[in-house]
């Protein structure tokens, strides 16, 4: 499958992730977060951005990788199912990916990650943003 529009590649912890460039609306510096009562652990909190409340999702917590909180930035992902901000320790930029785009797992968040794709910086897990946000909404 050819990567027509390209992907925004970013690092979170020790892993590289990519979101389709057309769903990544912008990259922001993460401000102070407001915690939400009864929210799951991977939802670090919310912040207001352009009159909208955005929840911040920590991929290291979600994927079960070693927790890395050195992120400074977040990638805003907008889909018809909703918007989230994904924490990023580094944003590498927009690039075209090569390789396969198969599901990387069958349980939890891994069923919404595809790959193994390849970028200049290394192997990248591509996030299926629509199903990913649906998954987050139902997981609560």
């Amino acid at each position: 499958m050819a990567d027509v529009h390209g992907h925004l590649v970013f690092a979170c912890g020790s892993s590289l992730y990519a979101v389709p460039a057309d769903t990544a609306s912008e990259v922001v510096n993460v401000p102070t977060l407001t915690r939400v009562p009864g929210a799951p652990a991977h939802l670090l909190g919310v912040f207001a951005h352009r009159g909208e409340v955005l929840p911040v999702v920590d991929l290291t917590r979600l994927t079960g990788h070693p927790i890395d909180e050195t992120f400074k930035r977040a990638v805003l992902v907008r889909t018809p199912q909703g918007s989230v901000a994904l924490t990023a320790t580094r944003v590498l930029g927009v690039t075209t990916l090569e390789g396969s785009f198969e599901r990387l797992g069958d349980v939890g968040v891994h069923q919404h990650l595809r790959g193994p794709a390849r970028a200049a910086a290394g192997e990248v897990a591509v996030i299926d943003t629509q199903t990913f946000i649906e998954f987050l909404s139902t997981a609560g």
Partner: protein, 124 residues
């Protein structure tokens, strides 16, 4: 953007540890001293948190919620929508967010919170 913005008037701003939340003033039937067994809002932020001795209890009919301190806010504020990923948080008791004093406050519906407390399995 599924829920259109609406205006809310009369809030009780609550401090819970280092965190905060707000409830609609109409929902509070009485402020009380906390009694043993009443649920503490801090548990929503940190599982196992304990209510302080000088806390306040917000009564809503037969249920009540304990917070550290309260402050009544009378201005009209815009109620910001709950993002879809948080719609089920705390059993769906979140009714929105307000922004005041440069800070964001999650607004809790005591009505729905009471229902969640009666049926705890709905929270998971």
């Amino acid at each position: 953007m599924t829920i259109s913005a609406e205006v809310i008037e009369g809030l009780v701003l609550c401090r819970v540890g280092v965190d905060r939340l707000a409830v609609q003033a109409q929902e509070v039937t009485a402020f009380e001293l906390p009694h043993p067994g009443a649920p503490y809002a801090g548990v929503g932020f940190e599982p196992g948190a304990l209510a302080p001795l000088d806390g306040k209890s917000l009564r809503h009919h037969h249920t009540s919620l304990v917070v550290d301190s309260v402050e009544v806010h009378a201005e009209r504020l815009k109620l910001l929508a709950v993002p879809p990923v948080l719609r089920l948080a705390w059993g769906g008791a979140l009714s929105g967010f307000v922004e005041t004093g440069g800070l964001l406050w999650p607004v809790l519906s005591l009505e729905r919170f009471a229902a969640h407390t009666v049926r705890p399995e709905a929270a998971s």
